[in-house]
């Protein structure tokens, strides 16, 4: 299964991104890693080009907050992305915040899976479960 991943915005903290790449590969995914400093359009373009089924975005300095609102609008401009599984994780707010507020907000932006300060492996387990459920539906 193909996954597009990367760190959104002007964030250059790459460590989590590298770990995600390795972990996805170890779990058998085919990974297209756009790296740090990636803009939203670039993510969607890559999803279209590669025909990926999953888009996994990281944000580590909370910048995602700024991009989140535009997700639905932008995605609507692309065809064939209706089935794309959208996931976001890392530190999803500037400063500190709690998951109860953050998760519904990002679900509202159009993300299927929202992992605020969730450990990587836990997050990827959730992703695999989600995929399995989709398949059985």
């Amino acid at each position: 299964m193909k996954v597009v991943t990367g760190v959104v915005g002007n964030d250059i903290h790459v460590v989590a991104n590298r770990l995600i790449d390795l972990s996805l590969q170890a779990r058998g995914f085919e990974v297209f890693n756009l790296g740090v400093n990636t803009y939203l359009e670039e993510f969607f373009d890559a999803a279209v080009e590669t025909g990926a089924e999953v888009l996994l975005i990281s944000s580590l300095n909370g910048e995602a907050e700024g991009w989140g609102r535009e997700v639905k609008l932008l995605k609507a401009r692309y065809k064939n992305l209706d089935e794309l599984i959208m996931m976001i994780g890392g530190n999803l707010t500037v400063g500190s915040g709690n998951a109860e507020d953050i998760v519904p907000k990002y679900k509202g932006y159009g993300f299927d899976l929202v992992c605020h300060q969730v450990d990587l492996n836990t997050g990827l387990d959730q992703l695999e479960e989600f995929i399995a459920q989709r398949k059985t539906q």
Binding site: V15, R18, Q25, G35
Partner: protein, 454 residues
Amino acid sequence: MSLLQEEREIILSNEYVDTFDFAEVEEFVKNASKDLFISHHFKNANKMLVQPRGGFPTYEKQFALYEFFEKANVDVLPLTIDSNTRLNDYATSEKMLRLSEENDVDMLNGYPLVNHGYRTTRKMITHFNKPVSLRHGTPDARLLIEQAIASGIFEIEGGPITYLLPYSKNFPLDKAFLYWKYVERVCANYSELNEPINRESFGPLTATLVPPSITIVIQLLEMLLSLQEGVKSFSVSFSQQGSMVQDIVTGAVIKKLAKHYAQEIGCGDAAIHLVYHQWMGAFPTNREYADQLINMSTVIASMVGADKIITKTCEEAIGIPTKEANAKTVANTQYTLRILNGLPSVVDEEEEEILTLEVKAIMEAVFNDSADTLWRKVFNSIKNGIIDVPFSPHIINHNEMITIRDAGKNIRIINRGNVPIPERCYDFEKSKCDLSKDTTSIVNDIVHDIGIMQ
């Protein structure tokens, strides 16, 4: 007029600089107090110098920060530059500085030196009369360092490799080399007027599982590129790696080889110093624990025999530190250095030999590149993966080297990629690790190894 001077005049006739008076600046540097030169302190201090990090947008806040540091008995003051200035976007930093001044909120994550200008900044620097170190992260720092030296800042951190590979995704590396060549030459020229201007390389790189061989090679290369241009005082550096013995060995090898390679290019007269950064990787969120980590870093820096230590704060995992937390670390670090006595001298001959062989092999491969100048050889070596920095976000970096920690938490190379690690060393590195594990376990180990201080 020399080519360099022509270039300088062009750069300094920037709309954000109000008339740069070359002659006045030269006169100022010539007569500047020796106390402002860290190179002078390195020569005369018989203790490790302590330097925090820190930069605020307004003059007043920066001044207040310095007052705190002074009370905490600081040795070297930092001047950290905001990120707009780093990207040469002086218009935005100007706007944000005005907003910060008017609203008493910090709209910049550092001190916009170009906007404040050297005339203003010099007042602050000479008032405190302590050496100041410029921390920026700017690929094109030409205008910035002219302003810095004119302000009385006589230590410039950074370099074409260390300020690029960890900090940028796609800034062209060849441009960075040329911009830094300018910086070196300006520093070298000013060094003839009084005590030398000190240049410092940024050894921590990505602060994430970088093996000591890569760190040392990059330190040595930035040193050589600098000395070649006439710089006479240079600091190599690295940050705490996670294993006390690996830090001690790294310190020993970098000191030995820096001297060796400086002599090789006929620059044996330059003064070379060693700087140690307190842990630069992922910090614990618990402030008490962070304080323990910071104290331990200081103890290890003493074992390493560093000439300067650069500190962190207990708020590292939380956000930009308050001046109180920042000054507290300085006072604590000074106390620790004072009470830590009877240091044993530690030598691990096998580890030293292996590391030396690795560094020499990589250096040789760089020198053997067919390009005509050292900077082009280095550039090519990064492009073709002879130098490979784990976890660099830069697109030019190879990213094939894989490292993990052994039982003693030493960083070991388990996949050398294109880096010419000699066979014997590679076998040694791998022999320290359990490679029978499957990929998932190894990935889990890496995640754990990055978070060892949490």
